[in-house]
């Protein structure tokens, strides 16, 4: 499904990520954790096609990713909603770019918003919404065009603990409903355990994978309360701390 082969990227002569390889099967999820500023966001930019690798390549369904495409959606840090567009127009934006007619795109956007629990807010602007609501809108925007792959860049980092947990659950439910594979970048180990079928730990910059953990308890909404979760968190913490 998604394959990264020896990806490398430098900015201003400084290597940000180096030799990153992994694969993600149909319907699978991967959480990426690592030291702050190690290059996790850069990895997502390469996978989304927003940036081109200096070496290596990323493939989706065997086809090289050469630029942004409608079958890959990304939820950026701080949501990336356009403040000058209404909620419904933000969600429908991808469909508009794809050339979907106004009536159909608004219907689909409305249905997707309802799926993430936002109703009656079509004509509001992002500034009218709380952080949690904005994040739900961003999730709706990412899913409305039925992507083959979703990339999430620390999507819940600026939310309070309760809202974060609710939205993690909402994301998990959305994945369970459609099994659209996703790659989630997060600095929260707990979030990685909640949302990652596999968890890839990156080294400090230049980032490269140092370990990949299987998460057998993935999919259980109450995974946080299990012994397996505590054990995995402990292992993850040791591995990440060793990278500082």
């Amino acid at each position: 499904m998604l394959t990264a082969e020896n990806l490398a990227k430098s900015y201003d002569g400084k290597t940000v990520i180096q030799d990153v390889s992994f694969s993600l099967g149909q319907g699978e999820t991967l959480a990426v954790v690592g030291p702050s500023g190690c290059g996790k966001t850069t990895l997502l930019y390469l996978l989304s096609g927003l940036a081109a690798p200096d070496a290596g390549r990323a493939l989706l369904g065997g086809e090289p990713i050469t630029g942004p495409a409608s079958d890959i959606s990304i939820i950026l840090q701080d949501y990336g909603l356009l403040p000058w567009r209404t909620v419904i127009d933000n969600v429908a934006l991808g469909l508009k770019i794809q050339g979907v007619g106004r009536r159909e795109r608004l219907e689909r956007a409305r249905a997707q918003l309802a799926e993430v629990g936002i109703t009656g807010r079509d004509d509001d602007y992002p500034a009218n919404l709380s952080g949690g609501e904005q994040q739900r809108v961003a999730i709706a925007r990412a899913f409305v065009s039925r992507p083959r792959l979703t990339l999430l860049d620390e999507p819940f980092s600026s939310l309070d603990a309760l809202t974060r947990e609710r939205l993690q659950l909402a994301l998990l439910e959305a994945w369970q409903a459609r099994r659209v594979p996703y790659v989630l970048v997060t600095h929260s180990l707990e979030e990685a355990v909640m949302l990652g079928q596999r968890i890839m730990v990156m080294s400090a910059r230049p980032a490269r994978p140092v370990a990949v953990f299987d998460n057998p308890g993935f999919g259980d909404a109450r995974i946080r309360d299990t012994e397996a979760c505590f054990a995995l968190l402990k292992e993850l913490r040791h591995t990440v701390e060793a990278q500082w």
Binding site: Y45, L50, S70, R85, N128
Partner: protein, 253 residues
């Protein structure tokens, strides 16, 4: 600001200015500076005459045409300069070298090149206001957060989509702010360009009455120009609020 609130604030300001005016008029003996009630009565009488509205109409035409001309020229140029580095590299030195030059000194050149009619006056106002719109829009576009470009591009957006979904809506508030703040400059320049080589416009009316020591008529012109300036400001304000509704929202969290 809601319309009722705006009227209330305007009323309050007029009251304060009126009181200060009255006190100053009393202190000066009421010759050079007439009492505000006399000036208002003179304005009322002037507003019943055709000639006042002819002057007002000519001034309004010159201002609005110049503002429109400045907007349709400077806003797109600012948008392009702010978003296309190669164009900015070429044009920015010209703009920033000439920006501090007081353009009003070019009025005689404009009169020579464009004649004594409306064209030279409109061009002068448009040039001065256009610079403000250009620089503000260009700087505004350059300050757009990259995440909005990434947001549209990540959805497969083309350059045209980025222009329509990011550049234009993000630049509009900057262009409108420059236009709104530029109304004062426009009216000031209008007064200057109408103060000679013309026999029409509120600027001419003011200067003509001043020469004839007809201070009440002079103040009718001054008040007329003030009303016009305030009206233009409010129109720009309303346009900005309509076009950039999202700018005037309060965050909720």
């Amino acid at each position: 600001m809601r319309p009722a609130s705006a009227v209330l604030r305007y009323g309050l300001v007029i009251l304060v200015v009126g009181v200060l005016w009255k006190l100053t008029a009393v202190a000066l003996g009421g010759v050079i500076l007439p009492d505000p009630e006399d000036a208002l009565a003179a304005l009322g009488r002037a507003m019943l005459t055709q000639i006042f509205w002819e002057h007002f109409g000519v001034s309004l035409y010159r201002s609005v045409t110049a503002m429109g001309l400045a907007w349709i020229t400077a806003f797109p140029l600012g948008l392009i300069m702010g978003s296309v580095k190669r164009v900015d590299d070429i044009l920015a030195p010209f703009v920033f070298l000439t920006y501090p030059v007081p353009k009003i000194v070019l009025l005689p050149v404009f009169l020579l090149l464009l004649g004594l009619g409306d064209t030279s006056k409109i061009a002068m106002i448009a040039l001065i206001l256009g610079y403000q719109i250009l620089v503000t829009t260009r700087d505004g576009v350059r300050s757009i957060h990259p995440k909005y470009f990434d947001s549209v591009r990540s959805l497969g957006g083309s350059n045209m989509d980025v222009l329509r979904e990011v550049l234009l809506p993000a630049a509009l508030p900057h262009g409108f702010t420059a236009l709104r703040l530029g109304t004062g400059v426009s009216v000031a320049v209008l007064f200057f360009v109408e103060s000679f080589a013309t026999t029409r416009g509120l600027g001419y009316m003011i200067m003509d009455a001043w020469g004839a020591m007809d201070y009440l008529t002079m103040f009718s012109g001054i008040l007329g120009m003030s009303i016009m300036g305030a009206a233009l400001y409010e129109v720009a304000n309303v346009l900005e609020r309509k076009a950039c509704r999202w700018m005037f929202l309060r965050a909720k969290d």
